[in-house]
């Protein structure tokens, strides 16, 4: 088992490095992420076990694997610190539920590719940090996001996707708006009257016949 996972680790690292070298590869979307992960399949998910592997995901998380739930939960903590601001604590906002809803709109093929990419993100950090992303301290995790933002196409893709999902999962919640003075929906609040449909154009030949009729 140990040998096997060492072998897997070497193989994955080679594939990963190839991915890094392909900076100019143009069609490097989530499909590319899936390709890397497919080669690195097998014992990959168990490359380094995490205490979180034994913690079940909550019942509502039916659209996320347990590993994905833990990844987004960790990303929530890492990406949305509120100390020193008057912003709302992300623990009180259904961030990961909202991420799950957004992911539910993806077509099955893209969803599968994204799942592969997320798994890659979680696991590949083992090479640089000695533990999976879900177990990384907040400081190094933030540095990782910043460094990857300047990294290869693959790194930029993964960090952008994760950040965007988590940020919109948080900021879409009305509870997060008051400290920023964001007004949210206003038409009803302001009592704006509805104007209805615009009148038929009067100079159109048929419309003028209608008037005469």
């Amino acid at each position: 088992m140990a040998m096997n996972s060492q072998y897997q680790a070497g193989r994955i690292q080679r594939v990963w490095q190839q991915g890094m070298a392909r900076r100019q590869f143009l069609k490097w979307g989530l499909g590319g992420v899936a390709a890397v992960t497919a080669v690195a399949a097998g014992g990959f998910a168990l490359l380094r076990r995490s205490p979180r592997d034994d913690m079940p995901a909550p019942e509502w998380a039916t659209g996320l694997s347990a590993a994905e739930y833990h990844l987004f939960e960790r990303a929530r903590v890492v990406l949305l610190p509120v100390e020193g601001t008057n912003l709302v604590d992300s623990a009180t906002v259904p961030v990961v539920q909202n991420v799950q809803t957004t992911l539910s709109f993806l077509d099955p093929v893209t969803r599968k590719e994204l799942g592969a990419g997320l798994s890659l993100f979680d696991n590949v950090v083992v090479f640089s940090h000695g533990c999976r992303f879900v177990d990384l301290e907040a400081g190094p995790a933030r540095e990782l996001f910043d460094r990857w933002g300047e990294g290869s196409v693959l790194q930029r893709t993964l960090t952008t996707v994760i950040k965007q999902l988590v940020y919109s999962g948080y900021w879409q919640e009305p509870a997060t708006w008051p400290p920023t003075e964001f007004d949210g929906p206003v038409s009803d609040k302001w009592g704006l009257p509805y104007l209805g449909n615009a009148p038929l154009p009067q100079d159109s030949p048929v419309a003028s016949q209608q008037e005469q009729a």
Partner: protein, 512 residues
Amino acid sequence: MSQIRFQASGLKVHQAADVIDSQITLDADVVIVGSGAGGAVSAYELARQGKRVVVLEAGPYVPSQAFTEDFTQSLHDLYQDQGGQANSSGDLLVLQGACVGGSTVVNGCVCFRTPDFILQDWQRDFGLSELTEAELAPYFDEVEKNLSVHDNGEHEIARHGQVIREGAKKLGWSVKPLRRNIRQCGLTGHCLSGCKTERKQSMLVTYLPWAQAYGASIYSDTRVEKVLTENGEASGVEAVITRHDGTVAASMTVKAPRVILAAGAVQTPVLLLKSGLANRSGQVGRNFACHPSLLVAARYPQPIHPWRGALLGVHVDEFMHPDKGGFVLEDGGFGLVEMTMLAEPGTGKPFMDYMADARYLSGLVTLIHDHNVGTIEWDGERKAINYQLSNADFPSMQRAIKAAARLHLASGASEVYVPASDKRVIRSEADIDDQVDSLENAPQHLRMVSYHPQGTCRMGADPDASVVKANGETHDVPGLYVADASLLPTSIIVNPQITVYALATRIARHMS
């Protein structure tokens, strides 16, 4: 004209929820695919000529009262692919409306006529000698009048527009109020979530109810899958009606000797490719351009509240002509979710500080005159939008970012955020070249959005180099027309809705 019954509010739409039969067959004079800018105008023009018109729309019918003014929710309810439509590399979000009224329901109301220098390119390079400024002027006049297009009044220039105007004046750059299709703007700033109180003169409250008054029928939740032909001529379409839970309610066949495709610049070529039609030139799905845009945000010393007031107020046209740069800058409002997509001054605390101070931010939208380098493909299962900013266009993008930064600084901003995947903050003129010259034209580096897909079934006189003629009819299939943004042979730099309305009006008039 006793049959004209004009509904003062809302539309009567056949929806999936109303369907009882599993197979529906209709006869019409004209069947129109899509109910956005091109589809709605065509429907009205032809219905008022007494034609039996059927409009098929893949998206749902969402009445204005149901608009939420919540951007995330609106992406899910009103946009193509729930707002997630992107290019193959995932770094260009291609936003399109997918509902009755199409993109016109969610657009920013900005109205420009096609610049004359673009029409001249079309005349010279595509043999479109008929499409002169003088020929098109009456069509523009008419649609602008119908849609209450007017220069923004002073009250329609929000704080974010006012500061930008001041900066442009200091720099001596030409700055003008934007023209918009709106009546009594409610100044909510929620244009991109649909105009709840029916002030935006979108197709939902203009041409569609007008078409309906003249007898056009509208079917929502109805995706056209194939264009039919008989003896080489258009003869109708096949469609599928799908309930909102994803189950199929019915299949539909509409028999009609005239078919107008107005499904937008991504879906119209997909439909032609699926149908195996009108592609003798091999140009269907090619020549995709999209005005890749950036929203360059900046921090000001005073509160701006970028979500307050009319969404778009003024524009800088100093650099519009390709000889002067080939880009336009428009001040643009935004809410919190949009802000997170723009830029990041670092992960964690710097980002949350930036968001906590959101009210001090103001934005500039850059639009560039890109080359038609993209393709739309259909692999039998999924569409693909293959588009990467070309190396020829990257300098334009850099020039546009530099101009936006210079303008923000002149307007009094203390920090300008370059919308890149890494942290790039400009604090003074001296930073501009450093921060912008070192950008790379690589996937996932710039955070680009397209609101203006176009060009994928281009017009032209030469049947071997274009898909449709100047009158909108495909070269290959008599009776099969295209009347949407797919037509535009080159990108037009400016926001395209008025161009689509004018061309669709002309196409419908020439059909009779």
